[in-house]
Symmetry: C2
Subunit: 149 residues, 2 copies
DNA sequence: TATTGTTATACTCTATAACTATA
DNA sequence: TATAGTTATAGAGTATAACAATA
């Protein structure tokens, strides 16, 4: 029996890459929590909501993005609104909808957070420039694949 | 002034790679939550704790790993112990310490979860085998860098 | 009738402070 | 005296169900 017929416990390079990917993310997680904590954005979904908003966004879309209940989004947006980071706007197309929009301050803070989170961790920064570029190009190709599931 | 002296808004390939990395992770997040939900491991830290345990592990080390308070780990381990997935053991070297160890059932469940989480998402699986291998090799090189911060 | 979002509510999760037991 | 972990507790976070407004 040759190696190529072994399928039961075969691990594809994709799965091996994915394991390393996740390990790297778990390495980074404390830093991400630290950055969120600097802005008192807690629990994580509050920070994720702020990070995700760009254009005015319906409450329901935020719920989908966070994978949480709509009533939880009401609570999250209440918190962000109390702090003046977002405001609820009417949607002229459908008066049931409430659009969540960044305030100027909210945009400033969100951009600050994004900038900090965008700094590659040591694990990536220490790679050769050749590796960095190859990694960037491969990941950009990957991200373009629709995540239908 | 030449381009190489421009430092203010320069984005390195490392940072660009890191942005794509994070986008891919956010794409995958719903699937991760779904897998955790299949096993009723909620909130996320409960699932992360179970996933992380291999050898019997002191409570305090789990708190460090999750970036949470020790009393929260007491609560998390209580939940896992109620379900028969872990058990507290004495540490013969230091009687203050409680080691959290997987039960047979806990190891079975943890392995099942790990196997599901190890399946590369479509974005990765759809890459050419050449890209998959390059990605794996680069990420493995990255992960070996100590995450001193 | 169905959908978007809010309110009221109960339950879950989390940290703080005080405590026990070891070191 | 310091450290590992637990307990008691208050407060934060989350979902469910019932509701109001609009489609």
């Amino acid at each position: 029996m040759t190696g190529t017929t072994e399928t039961v416990s075969y691990v594809s390079p994709a799965d091996e890459a994915w394991d390393a990917f996740q390990e790297l993310f778990m390495q980074y997680r404390p830093r991400m929590l630290e950055i969120h904590a600097e802005y008192e954005l807690k629990p994580p979904p509050v920070a994720l909501a702020l990070r995700a908003i760009d254009e005015p966004t319906p409450m329901g879309k935020i719920a989908d993005h966070l994978c949480c209940d709509g009533s939880t989004v009401t609570w999250i947006v209440d918190r962000l609104e109390e702090r003046g980071l977002v405001e609820r706007q009417a949607d002229p197309r459908d008066r049931r909808v409430r659009l969540v929009a960044l305030t100027d301050e909210g945009r400033r803070i969100r951009n600050e957070i994004r900038a900090k989170l965008s700094q590659a961790p040591p694990a990536i920064a220490a790679l050769s420039e050749e590796d960095q570029i190859a990694l960037r190009d491969i990941l950009r190709r990957a991200v373009r694949v629709p995540a239908d599931r």
